[in-house]
């Protein structure tokens, strides 16, 4: 039997071809804050981290200055995982890139039964500009849907370049279709986020566990919102890091784009096809539940 060593969290990053998995993994690999992690990717060809950050480059492994390693999976995921588990310095966290057609939830399940791995969450990326069509596509709709169904956390990529009304539509679509997943944008994801997911999953606690550093809430309402109240709440909350949302303002019946970074708040009229409110709020674990936020700002219905 293998000696008992701490089981590293095992996170799976999935999403269809082009969803931005590699961009995200490149960023996480290069992060100086990264834990001593192993990232298993399908193909080195796509890994493009700054050469200065690379310590050594072996056949199937790249070692980074920050202590992370990146390995190719080849045609055998089992072999890849076995290899990193057998390293003398066992990684503190294992992140696997599921292929663009894989079912990331199925892959992640291994951590629920293997004593050598701890559950570290299922992150599924969705390309904001493509996801609507993908979910209707004759060849891939069911594959993409299956991936998102299995997500604990949906990360929306490439959201910013879209016109506001389109952004709102994407957030609305995803939060409606996959209500049990939390939702944020890839731009917001940091190691802290992955680690926090891992801790929560291990204890079976809800995302707002005490020492989580980062939680996401999706707000939705079918009724107009008091945008002044919303602004007031955003300005006075110490728990919000970022917020992006679209709301029909009860005051004038117009649609507003609301963006907050820390205390900086920006509200502008815009075109978006929504009924009441669609928003993502990222904050610390003291952030109230979505329903409570919605109640505070005077809207009627919500989902988290």
């Amino acid at each position: 039997m293998k000696p008992a060593r701490p089981a590293p969290p095992f996170s799976v990053v999935g999403g269809f071809l082009g969803a931005g998995k590699t961009t995200l993994l490149n960023r996480l690999l290069a992060d100086p804050q990264a834990p001593r992690c192993a990232v298993l990717v399908n193909d080195f060809g796509d890994i493009a981290v700054d050469q200065a950050l690379i310590q050594s480059h072996g056949g199937e492994t790249i070692a980074m200055q920050n202590g992370c390693i990146c390995c190719t999976i080849g045609d055998d995921l089992a072999r890849g995982i076995a290899t990193v588990l057998d390293l003398a310095a066992r990684p503190e966290h294992i992140v696997v890139e599921a292929s663009g057609v894989a079912h990331p939830g199925r892959v992640a399940e291994v951590a629920r039964i293997s004593p050598e791995l701890a559950p570290g969450g299922v992150f599924v990326l969705a390309d904001a500009g493509a996801i609507g069509e993908q979910l209707q596509d004759q060849w891939i709709a069911d594959t993409v849907d299956r991936q998102l169904q299995s997500a604990g956390h949906i990360l929306v990529s490439k959201l910013e370049p879209l016109p506001p009304h389109h952004q709102a539509g994407v957030i609305d679509l995803l939060s409606r279709r996959y209500p049990s997943a939390s939702l944020s944008t890839t731009a917001e994801v940091q190691w802290a986020h992955l680690l926090e997911q891992a801790r929560d999953r291990r204890r079976g606690a809800p995302p707002a566990a005490a020492h989580a550093r980062f939680v996401a809430r999706t707000l939705r309402s079918t009724a107009p919102v008091d945008v002044r109240k919303l602004a007031h709440w955003l300005e006075h909350s110490r728990d919000v890091y970022r917020m992006k949302g679209w709301a029909v303002d009860r005051a004038d019946g117009r649609v507003k784009l609301i963006q907050a970074v820390g205390r900086r708040l920006n509200i502008a009229p815009c075109e978006a096809d929504i009924e009441g409110l669609v928003a993502i709020v990222i904050g610390n674990p003291r952030l109230p539940a979505a329903a409570d936020i919605v109640r505070v700002i005077g809207a009627r219905e919500s989902a988290d």
């Binding site: 060809g45 089992a78 663009g100 399940e109 291994v110 629920r112 039964i113 293997s114």
Partner: protein
Amino acid sequence: MSHSTTLYRARRIITMDAAQPSATHVAVAGGRIVAVGGAELEREYGSADPLFAEAVLTPGFVEGHAHSMEGMIWKLPYVGFHDRIHPDGHLVEGCASVDALVRRLRRLERDLEQRDETLFAWGYDPIYFQDKPMRRDLDAVSESRPVVLFHSNLHLITANSVALQRAGIHRGNVIDGVYVDQDGEPNGELAEFAAVFPVLRAVGDPIFHAQDDPEGLRRFGKSCLRAGITTTADLYNSLDAPVVDMFTAVTAEEDFPARIVPALSTLNLSAEQVRARVAELPDYNHEKLYFGAVKIITDGSIQGYSARVRRPYINGVENGVWCDAPSRLQDMMRALHAADIKLHIHVNGDQASELTLQAFAEAIAESGPRRRHVLQHAQMMDARQLQHAAELGLINLFANHTYYWGDQHRDATVGPHLAPRMNAARTALDAGLEIAIHCDAPVTPMGPLFTAWCAVNRRTASGREHGLQECITPFEALRAVTLGPAISLDLDDCIGSVAPGKLADFTALDDDPLRVAPADIRDIGVLGTVLGGRWQGGQ
């Protein structure tokens, strides 16, 4: 190699050469066929060697779709339902009941040398059992060492309690791929990566490095010889450097009994990388080794519910899985077609064949006709798709699954309306397609005569008739295991028929497949084969 001419006389030679369909004499020199004809050849070449006087010679059988894993996997003991011939030639009796299986495993268990060694076996297929053997049955084999059965598809395993315990699998942590009994206890059956990984991690994976095993390849060669095969595809290979070196060395051994046509797997490679590999691999080619083809897998299997189908599976199982993003699969096909590379495309479900036909229609429109690519398995293609394939100049290979899974397809996968239409060889021939039929070993045993019997008779394992409108004639079936697959492998310039100038590859049979009753084709015995003029049978 001697260049003197040898003249052989046979009871009959079925040539697959339209210019002379039937003969009794064949003259061979320097490993090639010099002349084919009747007794008149004795005037030119002297008296004939009577070695095959009682035998019927056919062109050496060509297996258009098998895997060298067939040889590698025999490193483990076989415990499947059907009798199977070991590559060494002895019969391994099937385990047709749970009792028989447990008895066999107990015997194997006693032979293990180390106290803690895991007992592995392969070939077991649950669909043949009403009461499947389970964890408890395997516990009756051993309660102290792990016992692990690989199913015939190699994707599932059944494990005993010791193996489950070591993997940390118990009723408290059951996931999708861990099957449970009525009481919620894991019953020992495990499917897919997430469930199988912890077990093989705990007890060791015996087929981890199978692809590089020279003994495995030698066994594959022997399996070919037993079945009368002189050329076989090895239709999915990573062809890493150690594998290429091993294949090159082993196939060049003087007594290696078959020509091997490995196809490079495109998995995880870009079209550019595939082109680079294909450009260098043929440097290793010799008369028994032919690199250069490529295999693209689009979907899974129908019996595993992983094939991509246009209409849902009848029991509500969700649609199967693509092996890569459809757009990438199509891009790969177009790029490699443009590069004039020979492609074998695995398509089981009809949505996968549709995707592939669409890609080739575009590829041919862009780059013009090039090689004739092959749709492998093609099990669910209907008349319209087959017509389209014919227009595009493709070649179709069909599986012998009518026998092995026909009943299951009718009752559980695609249903009674579609199942009898599967593997539509008659419709394909009528559409003008060149066809071949295959075994896909180790999925089913190597055996062109059995595969031909399946296509001629279309009976399922339970004896049911299975879409008789798709039966083909014995002659068509024999062509589909000789010249047809030779064309599918682009080797019909040198093998596939008995004709002057071709390699002297023959299969010697103890009866005539075109003259016995069609129902008896599978009972014809293989006496041995001639490879490049060299007799290598004669037990």
